[in-house]
Amino acid sequence: MSTNQAMVEKYRNNFLKEVEANVEEGEWVKMCMQCGVCSGSCPLGKFWDHPPQEIFMMIRAGKRDEVLTSSSMWMCTSCYNCIVRCPRELPITHIMHGLAHYAKRLGLVPQNQPTAKFAQLFWDNLMKKGRVNELKLGMALYFMNGFGEGVKVAMKNQKLGMNMMKTGRMNPMEILGGHAVKDLGGFHKVMKKAQELEDARIAKHGA
Protein backbone atom coordinates (compact mmCIF):
# COMPACT_ATOMS: atom_id res chain seq x y z
CA MET A 1 0.00 0.00 0.00
CA SER A 2 1.40 3.42 -0.88
CA THR A 3 1.77 6.04 1.86
CA ASN A 4 -0.99 7.96 0.16
CA GLN A 5 -3.42 5.05 0.30
CA ALA A 6 -2.45 4.34 3.89
CA MET A 7 -3.28 7.91 4.85
CA VAL A 8 -6.61 7.77 3.02
CA GLU A 9 -7.44 4.61 5.00
CA LYS A 10 -6.34 6.07 8.29
CA TYR A 11 -8.14 9.41 8.14
CA ARG A 12 -11.08 8.34 6.03
CA ASN A 13 -13.38 11.32 5.92
CA ASN A 14 -11.44 13.57 8.21
CA PHE A 15 -8.98 15.47 6.12
CA LEU A 16 -8.75 18.26 8.71
CA LYS A 17 -7.46 15.74 11.28
CA GLU A 18 -4.99 14.41 8.73
CA VAL A 19 -3.69 17.91 8.09
CA GLU A 20 -3.48 18.68 11.80
CA ALA A 21 -1.39 15.58 12.43
CA ASN A 22 0.85 15.62 9.39
CA VAL A 23 1.26 19.15 8.06
CA GLU A 24 3.59 21.65 9.67
CA GLU A 25 1.43 24.16 11.67
CA GLY A 26 -1.63 22.24 10.41
CA GLU A 27 -3.34 22.54 13.79
CA TRP A 28 -3.91 26.23 12.97
CA VAL A 29 -6.22 25.54 10.03
CA LYS A 30 -9.35 25.34 12.18
CA MET A 31 -8.66 28.83 13.57
CA CYS A 32 -9.35 30.49 10.20
CA MET A 33 -12.50 32.63 10.29
CA GLN A 34 -12.74 33.05 6.51
CA CYS A 35 -12.28 36.80 6.55
CA GLY A 36 -10.35 36.90 3.28
CA VAL A 37 -7.53 39.26 4.20
CA CYS A 38 -4.83 36.74 3.31
CA SER A 39 -6.21 36.10 -0.17
CA GLY A 40 -6.51 39.79 -0.92
CA SER A 41 -3.02 40.46 0.42
CA CYS A 42 -1.20 37.84 -1.63
CA PRO A 43 0.75 39.63 -4.42
CA LEU A 44 0.65 36.49 -6.57
CA GLY A 45 -2.83 35.45 -5.49
CA LYS A 46 -4.42 36.02 -8.86
CA PHE A 47 -2.25 33.25 -10.32
CA TRP A 48 -3.28 30.71 -7.70
CA ASP A 49 -5.93 28.05 -8.29
CA HIS A 50 -7.19 28.60 -4.76
CA PRO A 51 -6.17 31.45 -2.43
CA PRO A 52 -5.13 30.45 1.15
CA GLN A 53 -8.54 31.22 2.63
CA GLU A 54 -10.15 28.87 0.11
CA ILE A 55 -7.53 26.16 0.72
CA PHE A 56 -8.36 26.29 4.45
CA MET A 57 -12.07 25.97 3.73
CA MET A 58 -11.40 23.09 1.30
CA ILE A 59 -9.41 21.29 4.00
CA ARG A 60 -12.34 21.60 6.36
CA ALA A 61 -14.72 20.48 3.65
CA GLY A 62 -12.61 17.34 3.16
CA LYS A 63 -11.53 18.11 -0.40
CA ARG A 64 -8.39 16.04 0.00
CA ASP A 65 -7.45 15.38 -3.61
CA GLU A 66 -8.14 18.91 -4.81
CA VAL A 67 -5.98 20.34 -2.03
CA LEU A 68 -3.05 17.97 -2.19
CA THR A 69 -2.76 18.01 -5.98
CA SER A 70 -3.27 21.75 -6.20
CA SER A 71 -0.45 23.95 -7.41
CA SER A 72 -1.55 26.74 -5.02
CA MET A 73 0.79 26.09 -2.14
CA TRP A 74 3.68 25.80 -4.57
CA MET A 75 3.00 29.38 -5.65
CA CYS A 76 3.76 30.86 -2.24
CA THR A 77 6.86 33.08 -2.38
CA SER A 78 7.11 33.56 1.41
CA CYS A 79 6.45 37.29 1.24
CA TYR A 80 4.67 37.07 4.61
CA ASN A 81 2.04 39.69 3.68
CA CYS A 82 -0.73 37.32 4.75
CA ILE A 83 0.87 36.43 8.07
CA VAL A 84 1.29 40.01 9.18
CA ARG A 85 -2.32 40.85 8.31
CA CYS A 86 -4.22 37.73 9.41
CA PRO A 87 -6.46 38.82 12.30
CA ARG A 88 -6.18 35.35 13.79
CA GLU A 89 -2.39 35.20 13.46
CA LEU A 90 -2.41 32.00 11.41
CA PRO A 91 1.12 31.13 10.22
CA ILE A 92 -0.25 30.95 6.66
CA THR A 93 3.10 30.92 4.84
CA HIS A 94 4.31 28.00 6.96
CA ILE A 95 1.08 26.09 6.42
CA MET A 96 1.48 26.55 2.65
CA HIS A 97 5.00 25.12 2.77
CA GLY A 98 3.78 22.38 5.11
CA LEU A 99 1.08 21.39 2.62
CA ALA A 100 3.57 21.40 -0.25
CA HIS A 101 5.92 19.22 1.75
CA TYR A 102 3.15 16.80 2.68
CA ALA A 103 1.92 16.54 -0.91
CA LYS A 104 5.49 15.81 -1.99
CA ARG A 105 5.84 13.08 0.66
CA LEU A 106 2.69 11.44 -0.64
CA GLY A 107 3.81 11.74 -4.24
CA LEU A 108 0.89 13.97 -5.22
CA VAL A 109 2.76 16.94 -6.68
CA PRO A 110 1.49 17.82 -10.16
CA GLN A 111 3.88 16.75 -12.92
CA ASN A 112 6.26 19.51 -13.99
CA GLN A 113 5.21 21.88 -11.23
CA PRO A 114 8.07 24.39 -11.70
CA THR A 115 8.51 25.38 -8.04
CA ALA A 116 8.62 21.74 -6.97
CA LYS A 117 11.17 21.03 -9.67
CA PHE A 118 13.31 23.95 -8.66
CA ALA A 119 13.09 22.96 -4.99
CA GLN A 120 14.37 19.49 -5.90
CA LEU A 121 17.25 20.95 -7.93
CA PHE A 122 18.13 23.26 -5.07
CA TRP A 123 18.06 20.38 -2.59
CA ASP A 124 20.18 18.06 -4.72
CA ASN A 125 22.67 20.83 -5.33
CA LEU A 126 22.89 21.69 -1.64
CA MET A 127 23.29 18.09 -0.52
CA LYS A 128 26.43 17.53 -2.62
CA LYS A 129 28.76 20.04 -0.98
CA GLY A 130 26.79 21.41 1.94
CA ARG A 131 26.48 24.77 0.21
CA VAL A 132 24.64 25.97 -2.85
CA ASN A 133 26.73 26.12 -6.00
CA GLU A 134 25.20 29.15 -7.71
CA LEU A 135 26.70 28.42 -11.05
CA LYS A 136 25.57 24.81 -11.24
CA LEU A 137 22.17 25.61 -9.81
CA GLY A 138 21.74 28.40 -12.34
CA MET A 139 22.72 26.11 -15.19
CA ALA A 140 20.43 23.34 -13.98
CA LEU A 141 17.62 25.84 -13.76
CA TYR A 142 18.20 27.14 -17.28
CA PHE A 143 18.09 23.65 -18.70
CA MET A 144 15.16 22.55 -16.55
CA ASN A 145 12.85 22.76 -19.56
CA GLY A 146 15.14 21.15 -22.11
CA PHE A 147 18.34 22.12 -23.95
CA GLY A 148 17.00 24.59 -26.53
CA GLU A 149 14.97 26.52 -23.98
CA GLY A 150 18.03 26.55 -21.66
CA VAL A 151 20.32 28.17 -24.20
CA LYS A 152 17.72 30.85 -24.84
CA VAL A 153 17.32 31.69 -21.17
CA ALA A 154 21.07 31.61 -20.63
CA MET A 155 21.61 34.08 -23.48
CA LYS A 156 18.96 36.38 -22.07
CA ASN A 157 20.58 36.42 -18.65
CA GLN A 158 24.12 36.73 -19.94
CA LYS A 159 24.57 40.25 -18.60
CA LEU A 160 23.37 39.29 -15.13
CA GLY A 161 25.84 36.41 -15.01
CA MET A 162 28.72 38.62 -16.16
CA ASN A 163 27.90 41.20 -13.51
CA MET A 164 27.73 38.55 -10.81
CA MET A 165 31.16 37.31 -11.81
CA LYS A 166 32.60 40.84 -11.90
CA THR A 167 31.38 41.57 -8.38
CA GLY A 168 32.65 38.24 -7.11
CA ARG A 169 29.18 36.83 -6.52
CA MET A 170 29.78 33.90 -8.85
CA ASN A 171 33.04 32.12 -9.67
CA PRO A 172 33.32 30.41 -13.09
CA MET A 173 35.78 27.92 -11.57
CA GLU A 174 32.91 26.52 -9.48
CA ILE A 175 31.90 24.52 -12.55
CA LEU A 176 34.81 22.14 -11.77
CA GLY A 177 33.34 20.39 -8.74
CA GLY A 178 33.00 23.53 -6.66
CA HIS A 179 34.07 23.99 -3.06
CA ALA A 180 32.44 22.36 -0.07
CA VAL A 181 31.68 23.33 3.53
CA LYS A 182 34.63 22.78 5.89
CA ASP A 183 33.38 19.53 7.39
CA LEU A 184 31.41 17.87 4.61
CA GLY A 185 31.30 14.53 6.46
CA GLY A 186 29.87 16.30 9.51
CA PHE A 187 27.30 18.02 7.34
CA HIS A 188 26.12 14.74 5.90
CA LYS A 189 25.88 13.29 9.41
CA VAL A 190 23.70 16.21 10.52
CA MET A 191 21.43 15.69 7.54
CA LYS A 192 21.19 11.98 8.20
CA LYS A 193 20.20 12.57 11.80
CA ALA A 194 17.62 15.14 10.74
CA GLN A 195 16.16 12.65 8.28
CA GLU A 196 15.93 10.02 11.05
CA LEU A 197 14.09 12.44 13.34
CA GLU A 198 11.73 13.38 10.53
CA ASP A 199 11.09 9.70 9.68
CA ALA A 200 10.36 8.96 13.34
CA ARG A 201 7.94 11.87 13.49
CA ILE A 202 6.17 10.71 10.35
CA ALA A 203 6.02 7.12 11.62
CA LYS A 204 4.36 8.35 14.79
CA HIS A 205 1.55 10.18 12.99
CA GLY A 206 1.56 8.39 9.69
CA ALA A 207 0.67 5.00 8.41
Partner: protein, 427 residues
Protein backbone atom coordinates in the same frame (compact mmCIF):
# COMPACT_ATOMS: atom_id res chain seq x y z
CA UNK B 1 -11.39 77.02 46.36
CA UNK B 2 -14.11 74.59 45.31
CA UNK B 3 -16.04 73.02 48.20
CA UNK B 4 -17.52 69.55 47.79
CA UNK B 5 -20.00 68.49 50.46
CA UNK B 6 -19.75 64.74 50.88
CA UNK B 7 -19.70 61.96 53.49
CA UNK B 8 -18.86 58.27 53.43
CA UNK B 9 -22.47 57.73 52.38
CA UNK B 10 -21.81 59.67 49.19
CA UNK B 11 -21.57 57.86 45.84
CA UNK B 12 -18.87 59.10 43.51
CA UNK B 13 -19.53 58.62 39.79
CA UNK B 14 -16.62 59.07 37.39
CA UNK B 15 -17.54 59.89 33.80
CA UNK B 16 -20.60 61.87 32.75
CA UNK B 17 -21.56 60.02 29.58
CA UNK B 18 -24.95 58.39 29.20
CA UNK B 19 -23.90 55.62 31.61
CA UNK B 20 -22.46 57.89 34.31
CA UNK B 21 -25.44 60.27 34.06
CA UNK B 22 -27.83 57.35 34.36
CA UNK B 23 -26.06 55.81 37.38
CA UNK B 24 -25.77 59.21 39.09
CA UNK B 25 -29.42 60.12 38.50
CA UNK B 26 -30.80 56.72 39.49
CA UNK B 27 -28.87 56.89 42.76
CA UNK B 28 -29.66 60.56 43.42
CA UNK B 29 -33.36 60.02 42.76
CA UNK B 30 -33.48 57.40 45.50
CA UNK B 31 -32.23 60.13 47.84
CA UNK B 32 -28.52 59.33 47.86
CA UNK B 33 -25.88 62.05 47.82
CA UNK B 34 -23.99 61.80 44.51
CA UNK B 35 -20.94 63.58 43.11
CA UNK B 36 -20.48 63.25 39.34
CA UNK B 37 -17.00 63.92 37.99
CA UNK B 38 -16.59 64.56 34.25
CA UNK B 39 -13.34 65.23 32.42
CA UNK B 40 -14.87 67.22 29.56
CA UNK B 41 -16.43 70.69 30.10
CA UNK B 42 -19.91 69.18 29.53
CA UNK B 43 -21.96 66.03 30.15
CA UNK B 44 -23.22 63.52 27.61
CA UNK B 45 -20.02 61.81 26.53
CA UNK B 46 -19.78 60.24 23.09
CA UNK B 47 -23.54 59.99 22.66
CA UNK B 48 -23.59 63.78 22.32
CA UNK B 49 -21.43 63.30 19.20
CA UNK B 50 -23.83 60.94 17.42
CA UNK B 51 -26.25 62.20 14.77
CA UNK B 52 -28.98 59.56 15.20
CA UNK B 53 -29.51 56.53 17.42
CA UNK B 54 -30.05 53.00 16.17
CA UNK B 55 -32.36 51.19 16.05
CA UNK B 56 -35.12 53.80 16.11
CA UNK B 57 -33.16 56.50 14.27
CA UNK B 58 -34.22 59.14 16.76
CA UNK B 59 -31.91 61.95 17.87
CA UNK B 60 -29.74 61.40 20.95
CA UNK B 61 -30.30 65.02 21.96
CA UNK B 62 -33.78 63.99 23.06
CA UNK B 63 -32.59 61.44 25.63
CA UNK B 64 -29.78 63.72 26.77
CA UNK B 65 -32.19 66.57 27.30
CA UNK B 66 -34.33 64.46 29.62
CA UNK B 67 -31.26 63.53 31.65
CA UNK B 68 -30.13 67.15 31.80
CA UNK B 69 -33.53 68.19 33.13
CA UNK B 70 -33.46 65.42 35.70
CA UNK B 71 -30.01 66.53 36.86
CA UNK B 72 -30.94 70.21 37.08
CA UNK B 73 -33.91 69.34 39.26
CA UNK B 74 -32.05 67.09 41.67
CA UNK B 75 -30.55 68.72 44.79
CA UNK B 76 -28.67 65.52 45.73
CA UNK B 77 -26.43 65.69 42.68
CA UNK B 78 -23.19 67.70 42.52
CA UNK B 79 -21.62 67.92 39.06
CA UNK B 80 -17.93 68.68 38.61
CA UNK B 81 -16.83 69.21 35.00
CA UNK B 82 -13.26 69.46 33.72
CA UNK B 83 -12.49 67.15 36.62
CA UNK B 84 -10.57 63.90 36.93
CA UNK B 85 -10.12 61.44 39.78
CA UNK B 86 -6.41 61.21 40.48
CA UNK B 87 -6.40 59.02 43.58
CA UNK B 88 -8.64 56.89 45.77
CA UNK B 89 -7.59 55.77 49.25
CA UNK B 90 -9.35 53.68 51.88
CA UNK B 91 -11.77 50.83 51.55
CA UNK B 92 -15.37 49.96 50.65
CA UNK B 93 -17.64 52.25 52.65
CA UNK B 94 -14.86 54.60 53.61
CA UNK B 95 -12.86 56.10 50.77
CA UNK B 96 -11.17 59.45 50.25
CA UNK B 97 -11.08 60.59 46.66
CA UNK B 98 -8.73 63.18 45.18
CA UNK B 99 -10.14 65.03 42.21
CA UNK B 100 -8.16 67.41 40.02
CA UNK B 101 -10.16 70.36 38.66
CA UNK B 102 -8.83 72.12 35.58
CA UNK B 103 -9.61 75.82 35.21
CA UNK B 104 -12.43 76.78 32.87
CA UNK B 105 -11.67 80.51 33.24
CA UNK B 106 -15.41 81.13 33.03
CA UNK B 107 -17.61 81.31 36.15
CA UNK B 108 -21.33 80.72 36.51
CA UNK B 109 -22.22 84.30 35.60
CA UNK B 110 -21.91 83.12 31.99
CA UNK B 111 -25.12 83.42 29.97
CA UNK B 112 -23.64 81.75 26.88
CA UNK B 113 -24.14 84.98 24.89
CA UNK B 114 -21.03 84.24 22.83
CA UNK B 115 -19.44 87.72 22.92
CA UNK B 116 -16.09 86.31 24.09
CA UNK B 117 -16.06 83.89 21.16
CA UNK B 118 -16.50 86.76 18.70
CA UNK B 119 -13.69 88.73 20.36
CA UNK B 120 -10.94 86.10 20.26
CA UNK B 121 -9.01 85.14 17.15
CA UNK B 122 -7.06 81.96 17.83
CA UNK B 123 -8.56 78.76 16.46
CA UNK B 124 -7.99 75.15 17.39
CA UNK B 125 -9.07 71.71 16.17
CA UNK B 126 -12.61 71.07 17.36
CA UNK B 127 -12.45 67.93 19.52
CA UNK B 128 -16.25 67.68 19.58
CA UNK B 129 -16.10 67.16 15.79
CA UNK B 130 -13.12 64.79 16.07
CA UNK B 131 -10.91 67.45 14.52
CA UNK B 132 -13.01 67.73 11.31
CA UNK B 133 -13.50 71.46 11.93
CA UNK B 134 -12.07 74.35 13.94
CA UNK B 135 -13.36 76.20 16.96
CA UNK B 136 -12.34 79.45 18.63
CA UNK B 137 -10.15 79.79 21.75
CA UNK B 138 -13.31 80.84 23.65
CA UNK B 139 -16.04 78.33 22.88
CA UNK B 140 -19.20 76.52 23.82
CA UNK B 141 -18.25 72.85 23.25
CA UNK B 142 -21.50 72.20 21.36
CA UNK B 143 -24.85 73.82 21.06
CA UNK B 144 -26.63 71.72 23.69
CA UNK B 145 -23.68 71.59 26.12
CA UNK B 146 -24.69 71.11 29.73
CA UNK B 147 -23.70 73.14 31.64
CA UNK B 148 -24.39 75.90 29.08
CA UNK B 149 -21.21 77.73 29.89
CA UNK B 150 -18.31 78.86 27.75
CA UNK B 151 -14.74 77.62 28.15
CA UNK B 152 -11.44 79.37 27.49
CA UNK B 153 -8.83 77.14 25.90
CA UNK B 154 -5.78 77.14 28.21
CA UNK B 155 -3.62 77.81 25.16
CA UNK B 156 -4.94 81.41 24.90
CA UNK B 157 -4.24 82.21 28.55
CA UNK B 158 -1.42 84.77 28.76
CA UNK B 159 -2.05 85.91 25.16
CA UNK B 160 -3.89 89.09 24.09
CA UNK B 161 -6.88 86.86 23.16
CA UNK B 162 -7.53 86.16 26.85
CA UNK B 163 -7.75 89.88 27.61
CA UNK B 164 -9.98 90.45 24.59
CA UNK B 165 -12.35 87.76 25.83
CA UNK B 166 -12.44 89.27 29.31
CA UNK B 167 -13.08 92.76 27.93
CA UNK B 168 -15.91 91.51 25.70
CA UNK B 169 -17.85 89.84 28.53
CA UNK B 170 -20.65 92.04 29.87
CA UNK B 171 -21.41 89.74 32.80
CA UNK B 172 -18.01 89.59 34.46
CA UNK B 173 -17.98 85.86 33.85
CA UNK B 174 -14.37 85.54 32.75
CA UNK B 175 -11.89 84.91 35.54
CA UNK B 176 -8.33 84.62 34.26
CA UNK B 177 -7.03 83.98 37.78
CA UNK B 178 -8.59 80.51 37.99
CA UNK B 179 -6.03 77.77 38.41
CA UNK B 180 -5.83 74.03 38.70
CA UNK B 181 -6.81 72.65 42.11
CA UNK B 182 -7.10 69.27 43.78
CA UNK B 183 -10.03 68.64 46.12
CA UNK B 184 -10.27 65.72 48.53
CA UNK B 185 -13.58 64.42 49.81
CA UNK B 186 -15.01 61.22 51.32
CA UNK B 187 -17.25 58.70 49.59
CA UNK B 188 -18.54 55.21 50.37
CA UNK B 189 -18.77 53.74 46.87
CA UNK B 190 -17.56 54.64 43.43
CA UNK B 191 -18.96 54.01 39.95
CA UNK B 192 -16.47 54.04 37.15
CA UNK B 193 -18.24 55.07 33.92
CA UNK B 194 -15.40 56.43 31.85
CA UNK B 195 -16.60 54.86 28.62
CA UNK B 196 -14.71 54.16 25.44
CA UNK B 197 -12.63 55.79 22.75
CA UNK B 198 -12.25 54.99 19.06
CA UNK B 199 -9.26 52.80 18.21
CA UNK B 200 -6.45 54.72 16.51
CA UNK B 201 -7.26 54.12 12.81
CA UNK B 202 -3.77 55.05 11.64
CA UNK B 203 -2.51 51.86 13.25
CA UNK B 204 -4.40 49.80 10.65
CA UNK B 205 -1.64 50.49 8.19
CA UNK B 206 -3.05 48.86 4.99
CA UNK B 207 -6.22 51.01 5.18
CA UNK B 208 -4.29 54.26 4.75
CA UNK B 209 -6.30 56.40 7.16
CA UNK B 210 -3.26 58.58 7.75
CA UNK B 211 -2.47 58.85 4.02
CA UNK B 212 -5.78 59.05 2.17
CA UNK B 213 -8.05 62.05 2.80
CA UNK B 214 -11.18 60.19 1.70
CA UNK B 215 -10.74 57.42 4.26
CA UNK B 216 -12.44 58.48 7.49
CA UNK B 217 -13.74 56.77 10.65
CA UNK B 218 -17.32 56.03 11.65
CA UNK B 219 -17.18 58.53 14.52
CA UNK B 220 -16.16 61.26 12.08
CA UNK B 221 -18.94 60.18 9.74
CA UNK B 222 -21.50 60.75 12.54
CA UNK B 223 -20.31 64.35 12.78
CA UNK B 224 -20.41 64.75 9.01
CA UNK B 225 -24.02 63.57 8.79
CA UNK B 226 -25.19 65.91 11.56
CA UNK B 227 -26.73 69.14 10.19
CA UNK B 228 -25.06 71.02 13.05
CA UNK B 229 -21.71 69.38 12.24
CA UNK B 230 -18.69 70.66 10.33
CA UNK B 231 -20.16 70.11 6.82
CA UNK B 232 -23.68 71.21 7.74
CA UNK B 233 -24.85 67.63 7.37
CA UNK B 234 -23.53 67.20 3.81
CA UNK B 235 -21.91 63.87 3.03
CA UNK B 236 -18.85 64.94 1.10
CA UNK B 237 -15.29 63.96 0.28
CA UNK B 238 -12.79 65.67 2.60
CA UNK B 239 -10.27 65.93 -0.28
CA UNK B 240 -12.34 68.16 -2.57
CA UNK B 241 -15.70 68.77 -0.87
CA UNK B 242 -17.56 66.95 -3.70
CA UNK B 243 -20.66 64.92 -2.90
CA UNK B 244 -19.82 61.41 -1.73
CA UNK B 245 -22.49 59.16 -3.26
CA UNK B 246 -20.46 56.00 -3.51
CA UNK B 247 -19.64 55.18 0.10
CA UNK B 248 -17.98 52.02 1.43
CA UNK B 249 -18.16 50.83 5.01
CA UNK B 250 -15.36 48.56 6.23
CA UNK B 251 -16.42 46.47 9.21
CA UNK B 252 -14.20 45.26 12.05
CA UNK B 253 -11.67 48.05 11.47
CA UNK B 254 -9.36 47.26 14.38
CA UNK B 255 -11.75 44.82 16.08
CA UNK B 256 -11.59 41.00 16.16
CA UNK B 257 -7.97 41.26 15.18
CA UNK B 258 -5.04 39.97 17.16
CA UNK B 259 -2.88 42.73 15.66
CA UNK B 260 -5.23 45.35 17.10
CA UNK B 261 -8.22 44.83 19.44
CA UNK B 262 -9.00 41.25 20.42
CA UNK B 263 -12.70 41.77 20.99
CA UNK B 264 -15.71 42.33 18.78
CA UNK B 265 -16.79 45.93 19.40
CA UNK B 266 -20.39 44.78 19.07
CA UNK B 267 -21.96 48.06 18.02
CA UNK B 268 -20.13 48.82 14.76
CA UNK B 269 -22.23 46.50 12.60
CA UNK B 270 -25.32 48.32 13.78
CA UNK B 271 -23.59 51.70 13.49
CA UNK B 272 -22.70 51.05 9.83
CA UNK B 273 -26.21 49.81 9.04
CA UNK B 274 -27.50 53.03 10.57
CA UNK B 275 -25.00 55.08 8.59
CA UNK B 276 -26.15 53.37 5.36
CA UNK B 277 -29.46 55.13 5.94
CA UNK B 278 -27.68 58.49 6.25
CA UNK B 279 -26.29 57.99 2.73
CA UNK B 280 -29.48 56.66 1.20
CA UNK B 281 -31.50 59.47 2.85
CA UNK B 282 -29.10 62.03 1.40
CA UNK B 283 -28.80 60.69 -2.16
CA UNK B 284 -31.77 58.38 -2.70
CA UNK B 285 -31.51 56.39 -5.93
CA UNK B 286 -28.10 57.98 -6.71
CA UNK B 287 -26.54 56.47 -3.61
CA UNK B 288 -24.20 53.51 -4.09
CA UNK B 289 -23.39 51.93 -0.76
CA UNK B 290 -21.13 48.93 -0.08
CA UNK B 291 -20.66 47.20 3.26
CA UNK B 292 -17.57 44.98 3.47
CA UNK B 293 -17.94 42.56 6.35
CA UNK B 294 -16.78 39.28 7.91
CA UNK B 295 -20.20 38.56 9.36
CA UNK B 296 -22.93 41.00 10.36
CA UNK B 297 -23.57 40.94 14.09
CA UNK B 298 -26.97 42.47 14.59
CA UNK B 299 -28.35 40.63 17.56
CA UNK B 300 -31.85 39.89 18.87
CA UNK B 301 -34.35 42.69 18.31
CA UNK B 302 -31.99 44.69 16.12
CA UNK B 303 -31.96 41.96 13.48
CA UNK B 304 -35.10 43.66 12.16
CA UNK B 305 -33.07 46.74 11.49
CA UNK B 306 -30.59 44.69 9.47
CA UNK B 307 -33.47 43.32 7.38
CA UNK B 308 -34.71 46.86 6.77
CA UNK B 309 -31.32 48.04 5.55
CA UNK B 310 -30.90 44.94 3.38
CA UNK B 311 -34.12 45.91 1.64
CA UNK B 312 -32.64 49.26 0.53
CA UNK B 313 -31.75 48.71 -3.12
CA UNK B 314 -28.71 50.95 -3.04
CA UNK B 315 -26.98 48.92 -0.33
CA UNK B 316 -24.68 46.01 -1.32
CA UNK B 317 -23.16 43.59 1.17
CA UNK B 318 -19.76 42.14 0.26
CA UNK B 319 -18.54 39.29 2.45
CA UNK B 320 -14.85 40.14 2.69
CA UNK B 321 -12.42 41.77 5.04
CA UNK B 322 -10.59 44.01 2.56
CA UNK B 323 -6.84 43.58 2.32
CA UNK B 324 -5.90 47.16 1.52
CA UNK B 325 -7.05 50.58 0.38
CA UNK B 326 -5.07 52.70 -2.04
CA UNK B 327 -5.91 56.06 -3.63
CA UNK B 328 -6.15 56.37 -7.42
CA UNK B 329 -5.02 59.49 -9.27
CA UNK B 330 -8.34 61.25 -8.63
CA UNK B 331 -8.14 60.67 -4.91
CA UNK B 332 -10.76 57.90 -4.99
CA UNK B 333 -10.06 55.28 -2.37
CA UNK B 334 -9.88 51.88 -4.08
CA UNK B 335 -10.76 48.90 -1.89
CA UNK B 336 -8.88 45.67 -2.69
CA UNK B 337 -9.72 42.19 -1.53
CA UNK B 338 -11.15 38.79 -2.29
CA UNK B 339 -14.85 38.02 -1.89
CA UNK B 340 -15.42 35.00 0.36
CA UNK B 341 -18.51 34.08 -1.62
CA UNK B 342 -16.84 32.79 -4.77
CA UNK B 343 -13.26 33.85 -3.97
CA UNK B 344 -13.28 36.57 -6.60
CA UNK B 345 -10.78 39.41 -6.49
CA UNK B 346 -12.12 42.93 -6.49
CA UNK B 347 -10.70 46.45 -6.72
CA UNK B 348 -13.60 48.85 -6.19
CA UNK B 349 -13.25 52.63 -6.34
CA UNK B 350 -15.48 54.70 -4.03
CA UNK B 351 -15.91 58.40 -3.26
CA UNK B 352 -15.50 57.86 0.46
CA UNK B 353 -14.51 54.97 2.73
CA UNK B 354 -15.78 54.83 6.31
CA UNK B 355 -13.87 52.59 8.71
CA UNK B 356 -16.22 51.06 11.29
CA UNK B 357 -13.70 51.70 13.99
CA UNK B 358 -13.47 49.55 17.12
CA UNK B 359 -14.19 50.69 20.67
CA UNK B 360 -11.47 50.45 23.30
CA UNK B 361 -11.61 51.51 26.95
CA UNK B 362 -11.02 55.26 27.30
CA UNK B 363 -8.77 54.84 30.33
CA UNK B 364 -5.41 53.33 29.53
CA UNK B 365 -4.81 49.93 31.11
CA UNK B 366 -1.49 50.96 32.61
CA UNK B 367 -2.54 54.27 34.07
CA UNK B 368 -5.73 53.48 35.95
CA UNK B 369 -5.73 55.82 38.95
CA UNK B 370 -7.46 53.30 41.26
CA UNK B 371 -6.86 49.62 42.02
CA UNK B 372 -9.24 47.71 39.81
CA UNK B 373 -9.44 44.36 38.04
CA UNK B 374 -9.28 44.71 34.26
CA UNK B 375 -9.69 42.00 31.63
CA UNK B 376 -7.13 41.50 28.87
CA UNK B 377 -8.86 44.06 26.66
CA UNK B 378 -8.66 46.64 29.46
CA UNK B 379 -12.37 46.67 30.33
CA UNK B 380 -13.34 46.57 34.02
CA UNK B 381 -14.22 43.15 35.43
CA UNK B 382 -16.82 42.69 38.11
CA UNK B 383 -14.60 41.29 40.88
CA UNK B 384 -14.80 41.13 44.69
CA UNK B 385 -11.30 42.67 44.85
CA UNK B 386 -12.80 45.91 43.54
CA UNK B 387 -14.47 46.48 46.93
CA UNK B 388 -16.86 49.40 46.62
CA UNK B 389 -15.79 50.29 43.08
CA UNK B 390 -18.17 49.26 40.27
CA UNK B 391 -18.12 49.70 36.51
CA UNK B 392 -21.00 51.13 34.50
CA UNK B 393 -21.61 51.08 30.77
CA UNK B 394 -18.95 50.85 28.12
CA UNK B 395 -16.10 51.06 30.66
CA UNK B 396 -17.03 47.41 31.30
CA UNK B 397 -17.45 46.23 27.70
CA UNK B 398 -18.28 47.47 24.21
CA UNK B 399 -21.99 48.23 24.71
CA UNK B 400 -24.68 50.13 22.87
CA UNK B 401 -26.67 52.77 24.70
CA UNK B 402 -29.53 50.48 25.61
CA UNK B 403 -27.21 47.95 27.26
CA UNK B 404 -24.94 50.62 28.74
CA UNK B 405 -27.88 52.25 30.50
CA UNK B 406 -29.18 48.93 31.86
CA UNK B 407 -25.72 48.14 33.13
CA UNK B 408 -25.45 51.58 34.74
CA UNK B 409 -28.71 51.08 36.61
CA UNK B 410 -27.32 47.81 37.98
CA UNK B 411 -24.15 49.58 39.07
CA UNK B 412 -26.20 52.25 40.86
CA UNK B 413 -27.99 49.53 42.79
CA UNK B 414 -24.71 47.96 43.89
CA UNK B 415 -23.36 51.31 45.04
CA UNK B 416 -26.59 52.04 46.93
CA UNK B 417 -26.24 48.70 48.74
CA UNK B 418 -22.75 49.70 49.90
CA UNK B 419 -23.73 53.13 51.23
CA UNK B 420 -26.86 51.67 52.83
CA UNK B 421 -24.74 49.25 54.81
CA UNK B 422 -22.53 52.18 55.90
CA UNK B 423 -25.65 54.01 57.05
CA UNK B 424 -26.87 50.96 58.97
CA UNK B 425 -23.50 50.49 60.67
CA UNK B 426 -23.52 54.11 61.83
CA UNK B 427 -27.14 54.13 63.00
Amino acid sequence: MTEVVATNETILVVGGGISGMTAALEAAETGKQVVLVEKRPYLGGRVSQLYKYFPKLCFPTCGLEINQRRSKMNPNLTILTMAEVVDLKGEKGNYTASVKLSPRYVNDNCTACGDCEKAVEAQFDDEYNYGLGKRKGAYLPYRMAHPQRYVLDPRIIGTPDADKAKAACKYNAIDLEMSEEVVNFPCGAMIWATGWKPYDAAKIQPYGYDRIANVITSVEFERMADPSGPTGGKIVRPSDGKEAKSVAFIQCAGSRDRNHLLHCSRICCMASLKQCTYVSDAYGADADISVYYIDIRAIDRIEDFYEKVKAIQQVKFIKSKPASIVADKDGNPVVHGVDTEGYKRFANAHDLVVLAIGMEPSVDKDSFPVDIVLNREGFIEAAPENGGVFAAGSASDALDVNRAVQHATGAALRAIQVVNSVARAEA
